[in-house]
C-alpha cells in the first residue's frame, strides 16, 4: 500500500477514535433516535390519499437527509475549521500530507454517514412496516445508491467549505442545503408543490437522491406520488452520476485555490477575527 494511503488510514483511525471519545458522539446517535421516535409516532397516520403512512414516507427522507448533512455539511464545516486552525497549512508543510489528509477525510466521512444510516434503517425495520427492501437486488440497489450519493455529496461539501469563509459561511451552507431539502420534496410528496418549483428542484441532486431512496425502500404503489408516476431509475443514476462528476471536477480546483492562499498571515487574520468578533 502506498505511504499516503497508509498514512490516510492511520489518520482516519485516530480521528474516528477522537470522535467516538467525545460527548458529540452521542449526537450521532441522538439524531437517529429522535427520527426513529417520530417514525414510530407517525407509523399509522395516512399520507394524503395514498396507501402509505407518513412514517413510511419519512424513512427514505431521513436516509437522504443523513447523507446530505453528513456529507455536505460535515465536510464543509470541517474544511472551514481546518483552514482556520492551520490543520491544512500543516499538511502543506509535509510532503504528500495534503493527499493523505483528503484520503482520511474520505474514509472518515464514509463511516460517519453510513453509521447513522444503518441505525435508522435497522431501527425503522422494527418499528414501521414496509420500509426495507424486500429482495436481495433491492438491498444491493440501496447500497449502490448510498455509495453514489456519498460520492456526490463529499466533493460538494469540500467545494462549499473552501469557497465560503468562517463559521458564518457554514450557516449559509446550512440554509442553502435546508432550503433545497424543502423544495425537493424530501419530507412530503413533491407533486404537492407548484410545478415551477418542481422544475427547479430537479436540477439539484437533493431531489434525485430522495427519489432514489424512495424507489428502493417504498412499496411499488408509492410511485403515484412521484412526478410522472415513475421512479425514473435511469434518470436518477444519470443525474447523481453527473453531480459526482461536477463535484470531482470542482473539488480539486476549489481545494487547490484555497490551499494556495494558506499562509501564516492568513491564519493570523483568521485568529484575529475569532478573537475580535467571536466567530
Amino acid at each position: 500500500m502506498p505511504t499516503v494511503v497508509r498514512a490516510g488510514l492511520r489518520r482516519a483511525r485516530i480521528e474516528l477514535r477522537q470522535q467516538i471519545m467525545t460527548p458529540m458522539a452521542l449526537f450521532v446517535l441522538l439524531g437517529p433516535a429522535v427520527m426513529l421516535a417520530v417514525l414510530y409516532w407517525l407509523r399509522d397516520s395516512p399520507l394524503m390519499e395514498s396507501a402509505l403512512s407518513v412514517g413510511q414516507f419519512l424513512v427514505p427522507a431521513y436516509l437522504a437527509f443523513g447523507i446530505i448533512s453528513g456529507g455536505v455539511l460535515g465536510v464543509s464545516g470541517e474544511i472551514t475549521t481546518e483552514r482556520d486552525d492551520g490543520t491544512l497549512l500543516r499538511a502543506k508543510t509535509v510532503p504528500h500530507a495534503m493527499t493523505g489528509h483528503l484520503f482520511a477525510k474520505f474514509f472518515v466521512s464514509i463511516v460517519t454517514t453510513l453509521l447513522p444510516m444503518t441505525v435508522i434503517i435497522v431501527g425503522a425495520s422494527f418499528l414501521v412496516d414496509g420500509v426495507t427492501p424486500t429482495t436481495t437486488w433491492g438491498w444491493i440497489r440501496l447500497l449502490l445508491l448510498s455509495v453514489l450519493t456519498i460520492a456526490a455529496m463529499l466533493p460538494l461539501g469540500a467545494v462549499l467549505g473552501s469557497i465560503f469563509k468562517g463559521p458564518i459561511a457554514l450557516l449559509w451552507t446550512t440554509m442553502v442545503i435546508y432550503g433545497l431539502c424543502a423544495v425537493s420534496g424530501l419530507f412530503y410528496p413533491i407533486t404537492a408543490l407548484p410545478v415551477w418549483l418542481q422544475w427547479i428542484a430537479q436540477v439539484f441532486p437533493v431531489y434525485w437522491l430522495g427519489l432514489g431512496f424512495r424507489s428502493v425502500i417504498l412499496p411499488a404503489e408509492a410511485v403515484v406520488l412521484e412526478i410522472g408516476e415513475s421512479w425514473r431509475t435511469w434518470e436518477t443514476f444519470g443525474m447523481l452520476g453527473l453531480w459526482v462528476v461536477i463535484g470531482l471536477v470542482l473539488a480539486p480546483i476549489a481545494l487547490r485555490r484555497m490551499s494556495r492562499r494558506q499562509s501564516g498571515s492568513a491564519l493570523a487574520s483568521a485568529r484575529e477575527r475569532v478573537l475580535t468578533r467571536g466567530y
Binding site: Q18, T87, T93, G100, G264
Partner: protein, 314 residues
C-alpha cells in the same frame, strides 16, 4: 556534475499586498550549513520573506530559489528536504504528542537514504526538544512554550537540509531557551542550513554566524554580529556620579572623556563604561532606516536608559 546550488538565493525579491509594498528589493545568498538570523522590527516583512522561501506565498517580483528550486512551484520531493516552523500554530488540538509526530513522520519514510534515517525517530525527537514524558499529552493541553517545542520537533521530523524557524523561541522560559540553543547548535553540526527570525538579539548572536537586518523593505545589514556592532557604533556610554549627581554621556572616545572628567573637581563614584551592545547597534540602524536619516549613528546619542526594552515583548 553540476555544482551544488546555494541553500537559499534571492534576487531583487519584491512583495506587495495591494498598494503596500512590504519587500522592495531583497537580495541575499545563503550557503549550505550556514546559520542565519533574520532581524527586523515588527511588520518589517520577516514572516513574509520566510513564507516566500517556504513556498507558501508567491512573490510579486524578483527571483528566489531554495535548494536550487523555485519554492512555490517545487514538488513534494523538494518539500521533504525543507523543514518549516511557522510563527504560530494551533492545529490538531485533539491529537496526542506522540501519535501526531508518528503520523506526520510516516510521510518522510519514503525519503530515507542509506546515510540519513527518516523520519527522525519520534521518541528520540521528543526527548531532544524537551517534551520527554509528554508523549500522551493532548496538543491543546500543552503550554505555549511546550507547543512551540512541538512545532520545532515537527520542523525537524524529516531531518531537513534547510530549516526555517519563524520566532522559534517566543514564549520559552530560560531553560527551554538554553535547551533550544543547544539543539540548534547540534543541528548545524549536522550541516543543516538554518534561517531563523527572532527579536532576541542575544539569541541571534549566540546562534547565528550571520545576521541579516530587514528594514524598509530591503536588507540593510548583512554580516557577523561583530561586523554589525562595529559598523554601527563606535560609541561607548560613560556613566558616573560626581558629588551625588548623575552624569551620562555617550562618546566615541571614552578615555579622553574620562580624563577630562577626573580633571574637574569633585568626588567621582559609581563609574561605568559600556561598549555599545549589539542591541544598541541594531536599534540605531533601524532608527536610521525608518527616519530616512543617513547621519553618523553616534550623533543619535541613544543611551541604554532610554532604550525601549525590546526583549521584553519578544
Amino acid at each position: 556534475m553540476t555544482p551544488t546550488p546555494p541553500a537559499i538565493q534571492t534576487r531583487h525579491l519584491q512583495m506587495q499586498y495591494g498598494a503596500t509594498r512590504v519587500l522592495d528589493d531583497v537580495t541575499v545568498t545563503i550557503g549550505r550549513g550556514e546559520v542565519v538570523a533574520l532581524l527586523g522590527p515588527n511588520g518589517a516583512g520577516k514572516t513574509t520573506t520566510i513564507e516566500i522561501l517556504e513556498g507558501f506565498r508567491v512573490p510579486s517580483g524578483g527571483e528566489v530559489t531554495v535548494l536550487g528550486e523555485t519554492p512555490h512551484t517545487a514538488g513534494e520531493h523538494w518539500r521533504a528536504r525543507v523543514g518549516v516552523v511557522l510563527q504560530s500554530w494551533r492545529d490538531h488540538g485533539k491529537w496526542r504528542v506522540g501519535e501526531f509526530l508518528d503520523y506526520l513522520g510516516m510521510y518522510y519514510a519514503d525519503y530515507a537514504t542509506p546515510d540519513v534515517q527518516r523520519p527522525w525517530p519520534t521518541t528520540d525527537l521528543i526527548e531532544r526538544v524537551g517534551l520527554g514524558g509528554k508523549t500522551l499529552r493532548r496538543l491543546d493541553r500543552l503550554s505555549g512554550g511546550e507547543r512551540r517545542r512541538l512545532d520545532v520537533a515537527v520542523g525537524l521530523l524529516g531531518r531537513p537540509e534547510v530549516l526555517f524557524l519563524d520566532e522559534p523561541t517566543a514564549g520559552f522560559d530560560p531553560q527551554a531557551r538554553r535547551d533550544f540553543h543547544e539543539l540548534v547548535r547540534s543541528l548545524s553540526d549536522l550541516d543543516t542550513t538554518i534561517l531563523l527570525t527572532t527579536h532576541d538579539l542575544t539569541e541571534a548572536e549566540l546562534l547565528a554566524n550571520r545576521l541579516l537586518v530587514l528594514a524598509g523593505g530591503s536588507i540593510v545589514a548583512d554580516g557577523s554580529p561583530d561586523d554589525l556592532r562595529h559598523r554601527m557604533s563606535a560609541t561607548a556610554s560613560v556613566r558616573y556620579r560626581r558629588d551625588g549627581q548623575l552624569h551620562t554621556e555617550s562618546t566615541e572616545d571614552p578615555v579622553s572623556h574620562l580624563r577630562e572628567a577626573f580633571a574637574e573637581p569633585g568626588v567621582i563614584q559609581d563609574l561605568e563604561v559600556r561598549r555599545a551592545s549589539l542591541e544598541e547597534a541594531y536599534l540605531t540602524l533601524v532608527h536610521q532606516v525608518e527616519t530616512g536619516a543617513d547621519t553618523d549613528p553616534a550623533s543619535f546619542g541613544i543611551l541604554p536608559d532610554e532604550l525601549p526594552d525590546e526583549r521584553e515583548g519578544a
